[in-house]
Symmetry: C2
Subunit: 123 residues, 2 copies
Amino acid sequence: MRKDKKVRGGVVLRPRLRVMCHGETALGPGRVDLLEHVAETGSLRAAAARMDMSYMRAWTLVKTTNRWFSRPVVEVVRGGKTGGGAKLTAAGWEVVGLYRRMEKQSEKAMKGTWGKLRKLLHG
Amino acid sequence: MRKDKKVRGGVVLRPRLRVMCHGETALGPGRVDLLEHVAETGSLRAAAARMDMSYMRAWTLVKTTNRWFSRPVVEVVRGGKTGGGAKLTAAGWEVVGLYRRMEKQSEKAMKGTWGKLRKLLHG
């Protein structure tokens, strides 16, 4: 997953983007990480384990995230021989891609100003 | 203070910028709001009240924030006739200004991509 950039001597700028729908989180850093782990592992259980998260917690996150979008972002097959396979849908790939692009755009746009702020900090 | 922009039907993108020093928060949305309230009220107690925060909590935040920067961002006079006046230093004004500029730069840079992501959401 995306690592926070070390900028200098342990001083980092961490932009966290959160999409709120009617006061609830529809998408944020944790959910996007989870989606990427699902894409990489093909399993919600493995994705949850990677994030030190219970399967039920991951299941709830995926279920609620799916609900916020017009089309589901993750397709889950509960149980079965494989113990629950999961994969990103086309919409899911698009969502993750757009979110990561926003992060990059944000970081790039702030770079000069962040350099100025950083100079005012110790370390 | 800065309101989160309503984008459409209760769907908002909330970029929260956090400056981390050696794993600890040096600056984030809450601290910057507090600094702005200090600037507006000239009092740490009034600034804390505006944020539904105890005076001691505000005092701790200001003290630790001051420590992260090469020059203090807030000058506090504890007790006294006025019950503790406080004001932003020149460095404080600079820090708040740079932080708010980063927020604007971030939002502007993400605007087009956010429009695309927003279309995938209900509401």
